[in-house]
Each structure stands twice: as C-alpha cells, then as structure tokens.
Symmetry: C2
Subunit: 480 residues, 2 copies
C-alpha cells in the first residue's frame, strides 16, 4: 500500500514539476532515477511564508536560531528536499550528512510495507538485557557486513555522541584493566568511583575540534589536544610542505603523550577523524594516519577512528580509513549519521570485561538496523561507491575550475569522494553565498571558519554535479 | 494490513495459550483486554535452548553478561513478553520501565498501517536545522500536552543520557549568562573553551547514584554529591525519624553549595530524581523536595528533576513530581524511557540564548513523537493513571502482606503507583528469587544493593497484580 502511494505521488509530482515551475539555471540532463525529481523548483524566497509561520510557532517552544526552514518530507525525493512552501532544492547537505540514499527511497518504503517488520518499530527493546531473537543475524546482515578490517565486534548506540562517549569508556576500561592485571578492581576503586573521587585516571588525546559556541560554559575534562595538520591544497602539489607539517603534528602528539604520562595521567587512547569535519574539512595523508596509529601502538594507547561523519560511503570507500590501505587501521571505529544507528566497532581486547560497564536502557534501536540492511543492499546493487567516486571526481574538478575562475573568492578546494569542501573569502561572504544558493535551489552547509562543505547523498550522480556546478557558478558570478 | 495480521495472530495465540500450556500458579481471572494474553506459560527453563544458542552467537559480537534471554517481540503482547523458546512471562520490568502501554498495542500498529505516517520513519531529519512542517504541532499533541506545571518549552533528544547531559548544559549556560550579564562571552571565553581550558566553571550538585561498575575507570568531573535521604518504610509510620533524616540531608546540600562557592566553583544546578531509582528506589517526602527546590531558588541554582525513570504515569500521576503538589516544581524536567523519546522541559530562562549551543545531528526522532501521541491517547481514553493508582495500591498492600508473612526475607516494601520495590535479605538471595520467579513466568528486575523493583506497564491491572502476587508467594515459600 505504501509503495503504491509513493508511485502515485511520484507521478503527480513529476508532472507538476514539468509544468509552470521556474527552473533556476540551465535545464538539467534527464533524470536516470525515475523516482528522483529532475531539478530544483523554487516558488518563494527561503524561508517562505509558511516556514516563517512555523518558525514563529516553534519559537514558542525552542530556540530556533539554527533552523533553516521547515520541510515537507512526504514530498521530498531522492536528492531533492521540498520545503513547506513547495520549494524543491537540490540537497548537497542531506541533514548534516545523515541521509544515505536520498529521501523516500522506494526500498525503505517497501520495508515499511512488510507486516513482518512492524513489531520491530512498535516494541523497542532494552538491547543490553533482552534483545530480539534475530539481533545477531541483523547485526551480521547490516553493521558486520561492512566491518572495518580486523574487527568482528560491534556495539550499537542511539546517537553519535553516545557512540563516541562509550567508545572512550571502552578505551579507559581496557587501559585500566591492562594496567591492573588479572586481579580486577579493588574495593577502594569501586567505592571511590561512586563518590566521584578521581583516582589514577587515564585520559584520551583528542585531535577533533568544533565550534566554540558548542563548548562555551560547559565544564569539560582537561584532556590533551594535539593539533590536526593544516595542509595546503591540492595535496599533490604541496607534498613536501605538507609532509613537514604532518611530521610536526606527529611529534607534538608524542610529546603530549610523554608529558601527560609524567603528570601521572597516562593517555589511554588517541581519537582522530579521517577528515576533520566540523573543524573545517581538514585532510591528512595516509602516511600521517599510519604513523599516528604506530605512535598509539608504541605507547600502549588505543587508536580510535571517529567515522561518524566520514563513514557510510561518501568518500568513495565505505570507511574513509580504507583509503589508508592499512590492514590494521584502528582499535575502535565509531559511526552514526549515514549508518542510521550510532555505535562503534572494536577489536576483541577493547570489549568491556563485564556486563553493565557499557550500558544504557536502549543501546541502539533495532528498527534502524532494519533500514541499514536495505541501505547496504541498495549501495551494493547500484554500485553506489563507484558512483560516489565518479561524482566526487567531477565535483572536485568543478571546484578546481571555479577556484581558478574566482581566485579572490574561492580557495583550498579539497575532497575525497563527494566529501568535498572549499574556502570562501570570509565568513560574511560565505553566509551570503549559502543564502543565495538556497534561493536558487541548492542547499549546502558550512564548516570551520569560512568553508562550505558538500555532503550529498550516495545517489548524487554526475548529472547532479553538473546541475550543482551551474547553479553555484551563477551564484558566485554575483560576488565577483 | 498490519492490524488485520495482528488480530489473526492474537486469536491464534489465545487459542494456543488455552490448550496444552501449563499454568504455573492459580488460574488467572479472565483477561479484560482482549489483545492481552491470559497468563504466563512456561515451556522450558529460562534461558531455554534457543536463547542459549543465540547467546553464543551474540557473544561473538558483544559482551553478553547482562543478557537475560532472547525475545520474540512479534508474539509478545500486552503485559506478556514471549521468549524465543516460546515461554510467555508476565513482564513486571518492561525493558527497564520503557514500554508504556504493553507490547504490540493495537493503537501503535494502527499508526504504522497509516501510509501518511511512513515518511516520518523513512526520512529522519536533523531537527535542529530542518524540522518537518508539523514538528511544533506534533510536540503540542505529544510532549507539550503533558508538560509539567510552569513549562511551555521542550527540547527532544535521542536518549536518556543525552537528555540529562544537555539539561546540565542548559543550566551551565543559563548560570554563566546570568553571571556575565548582557555583554555576552568575551573572545577569551571562546578561545579558552576551544582548547579545553577550564575557566571559571560552575558545577552541578547531583543526588543520583548508580552501580559502581557503571563508573569505574571512567574519568568524571569532580561534582559535589549530596546524600539522598535514607528513610524508613512505611513512610507514614516513621514520620518523625524520616523528617530528621530529610533535614540532615537538606542541611548538607546547603553546606555543599556554600563550600563550593567558596572554592570558586559555584553550583549552577541541583539534580534530583523524585524516586532515586537505580540507587535502590529511595523515596522522600513532598516536603523534602519542596525544601530542596527552595534551597535551589535561594542560592540561584537551577532545579533539575530527572524523571527519566519516574515519568510517564507509573507513579499514578503523569510526572512523579506532581505528588509534591507544587505549582513551581522545577526549572528543568528531563525524561526518556516511557516517553519513547528523550528530552527535557524547561522554563523560559533556561533556554539556550543562541543556536547550536544545545545541538547534535538528530536532536531526537519525530517517529517516536508519533508513537507518543498515540500512547497519550490510550492513557487518556483508558484512564490508565487511575488504573495505575488502583493496581499500585493492590500491589503495595500485597507486598506489605508478604513482608509480614516472610519477615526474615522481605523488608522495606515501598512504592508510589506501581513504581514499587521491596528489599530482600541479601544480594545472593535476591538473585535466586529473580531466577525462580522467571522460571515460574514472572520477569522482574533488581536495583540498589538488595532491592527488587517493579516496573510494569501502565496496562498492569488489578488482576495482573493478583496473578503476580500468587506466583511471587509461591517463589518466596521456597526461601522461607
């Protein structure tokens, strides 16, 4: 019933998109996916009057400063997000990179139409104590079928921050257990942790950054933070300088590990993103990551690769760390977003030694695993990783060309797969460009101090790239 | 289609439950809910052979020490959880108190059968930037329709720990903003928080405890912790002693607030559960909570009531804090579990002043709000809060009677609504009782050092209480 309805809506919407709708740039090439729209279609400025009404309404309930506009998810399809004013935008941001195969993919609707699946949605279990009978099978079909090299174990969690937080916990537990040896925790250990007394703690070394406003006023643990390499792009043109910068950062990591050990606060783990995303899409070489991994091994630290944003295929490989070409890339890999469930993979020695050490009520959501099985089927069936590689090349080439065309405005085009970014002259110009592009039917996001990041779905094809570049070019021309 | 299937399954299962199945205790009175089963039905010891097989399989993927058994959620219904070996248990624990109206409630299946709802499941938005058009309406229909007194604002989150964590953040932000005045953060504030430097932090005073194993080895902030009153039960028989104990705890709270202010670490908020759950179901009087709330007001601390476990109707009121009879019970109320989504309500001055200060990718899940609307409809239509009050009285009376019957074995029966607990002689005996009861078809949970906690669904009727007490009595008789 659901899939029938979808087809009807699809025909209806395609028809309405062909008649009476203003195309904002060159006509797009013919759509190859019959269920996708064939181009943006703008009817009002964004946010339009209906979004503004709802913004006022929601403003009575929540802070709405970060809200872009309100969406009509029923009418959204494929690469196109439709808003409540009927504007249809090419979505190159996909809910902060969390929609893997586009909106309302028929495969996901088909899953919802199968009555055998319904009880999984209706009865959410406490997975840590009473999992469904098919839980291990579904993990095998979904998360374990794409497990990083050397990992056969996975723990699901409800969201990205819980995934990372519990991955840190796993590293602390493993580190202290190794340090303590087979005796186990003393009564004093147990007593003092209950009254929050800090006793011989170990620490994580983080290489991730975020917006200052995220952290302001929030008490946080005083963890060592090492700099992430600040490279010059295109990487292949600056190999020598970049290698020196990476060497500098690696040296600082080792210094920090030594300093903190001397302070009596040994570093239990190193956390790194394969592409530092919120911090401004900073890349580093495979050699950098392999060396960092070796430093972790040498000093007995766990190596945690945070693939919350990079995982799920957007770099052209399922995991960004696969680009390093290492058989033993990490001890822990955390994920969320495009995987639809949070969680982390880990090596066997990073598994908590007792029940309830890594624990909360839900520990994930099996209904998200069901969706993930289908998403992975679609990725395989439609060779989406190859598509991403192809589209990503076209996108990066296009960004290079635009950068050459607008040298004062654009710089540092960079990317892996469709996980691309480019820097804008300054932050105010970036804001203006994002708004102009949106009014012309392209939705993008920012990251770092003045970057625009591209985070399309895995079904973003070469003709979507062409469509995007045309509109982006139109926008940039106004800023020349 | 889904609801048709359910009906067929229901008839089939009822029939099979009437024939050939051993009833473990007295026959239960006739079921009033046609879709519920009419009693437990045990076929194997628990965990049975199929659960053991799956335990081995899942043990290759995760730590399985906390797993009870594997469930057949398709066949579970109402108050009865069915396992993969075909055992059907009266569930007095309901996935750590997170199943509000029983398994496979027809109202929730009906919701899934409506094609208009499907896109909410298929397209999970980034709620903080691109909410669906009906988001405010759905919040109004669901969470805001049961908002605590004095609160019109709510923030959803994906799980319980994120809910509390972000509620703490909101308190820190509000406290520091008030302290800073209208000037806003300085550049130095922004810079130093990015490099994790601790600058003039404020702190939360917590009155919640958990298992030592949850906290061991995990670095945590050195927050002040005040004792929760340790009262004698039944409360009404020990009013004088209990009042003295509560006065002692309140005094200590005020002392801690003064001490920490002198240390330069002012307390930004006080966090308390209306019934301290994981810590062993510790109760306190309405006067205690009202005094604590006054202390918070007097010292400029936000007052955060953590209703993650107590919220959603199980105490006989929708929120446990309603029992205090206060018009201004709290500044922040966090929830999760029975509300199906995490989040927190807050007063207007606890709202973050800028976008992205309280932020993550998903910020909740609108598909859970859909379910919550239906759950609240069922609670109202079926007067479930009255039912809970009635069942709760019967349950507590029954526990008092058993306690009298087994004085060396049981003590400290206590409860509000069906949110009841009783203490067992010692931890090993508790474990044995929980296992025996499970083998006889009743699933319960432990909390604290030697308590059993009861956390049935809101559809746990008086005849379920009678059924439960009979089986529990049979079990206890073996330990006399």
């Amino acid at each position: 019933m659901a899939s029938l309805l979808l087809k009807r809506l699809s025909l209806h919407s395609l028809r309405s998109s062909l008649s009476g709708c203003r195309h904002v740039s060159k006509a797009a090439p013919q759509a190859q996916m019959e269920w996708d729209y064939d181009g943006p279609c703008m009817k009002t400025a964004v946010p339009g009057p209906r979004s503004m009404e709802r913004l006022k309404q929601l403003g009575e309930i929540q802070n709405v400063d970060a809200i872009n506009f309100f969406c009509n998810y029923e009418e959204s399809r494929g690469n196109y997000l439709v808003d409540v004013d009927g504007n249809r935008m090419l979505d190159v941001y996909t809910q902060i990179s969390s929609i893997p195969i586009g909106y309302n993919h028929p495969a996901l609707h088909k899953l919802m139409a199968d009555p055998n699946n319904l009880s999984t949605f209706v009865n959410r279990p406490a997975l840590g104590i009473l999992p469904p009978g098919n839980f291990a099978d579904k993990l095998a079909e979904s998360l374990l079928s794409v497990a990083p090299s050397g990992m056969t174990r996975v723990q699901t969690m409800a969201c990205g921050s819980c995934s990372n937080e519990n991955a840190y916990k796993a590293m602390f537990i493993a580190y202290r257990n190794r340090e303590r040896g087979p005796g186990g925790p003393t009564q004093e250990d147990l007593r003092s942790c209950l009254i929050n007394q800090v006793c011989r703690l170990s620490w994580c070394l983080a290489t991730t950054h975020s917006k200052a406003i995220h952290k302001l006023d929030i008490p946080s643990l005083d963890w060592p933070i090492a700099p992430f390499p600040r490279l010059q792009y295109p990487l292949e043109e600056f190999t020598r300088d970049n290698a020196a910068e990476e060497a500098r950062c690696l040296e600082e990591v080792e210094d920090l590990i030594m300093q903190w050990r001397q302070k009596g606060r040994p570093v239990a783990g190193i956390v790194v993103e394969p592409i530092q995303a919120e911090g401004g899409d900073n890349h580093a070489s495979a050699d950098f990551f392999k060396s960092l991994r070796n430093i972790a091994r040498k000093h007995g630290c766990a190596f945690h690769v945070d693939e919350v944003q990079t995982g799920g295929g957007c770099t052209g490989k399922f995991w960004a760390h696969e680009h390093w070409g290492s058989d033993d890339p990490a001890d822990i890999v955390s994920f969320s977003k495009k995987l639809l469930t949070g969680g982390y993979y880990h090596k066997t020695d990073l598994q908590a030694d007792k029940g309830y050490r890594i624990f909360n009520t839900w520990m994930g959501d099996p209904s998200k695993n069901l969706f993930l099985v289908e998403v992975l089927n679609v990725i395989r069936r439609e060779n989406l990783l190859e598509e991403v590689t192809r589209s990503g090349k076209a996108l990066l080439q296009g960004l290079y060309a635009l950068q050459e065309q607008y040298p004062g405005l654009l710089s540092r085009a960079r990317g892996q797969g469709t996980f691309c970014a480019i820097d804008i002259r300054d932050d105010p110009t970036r804001s203006k460009i994002l708004l102009k592009a949106r009014d012309k039917g392209v939705l993008m996001g920012g990251c770092g101090e003045r970057s625009i990041r591209f985070r399309p779905a895995l079904i973003f094809k070469e003709y979507h790239v062409a469509l995007f570049l045309n509109i982006f070019n139109d926008v940039l021309a106004e800023f020349k």
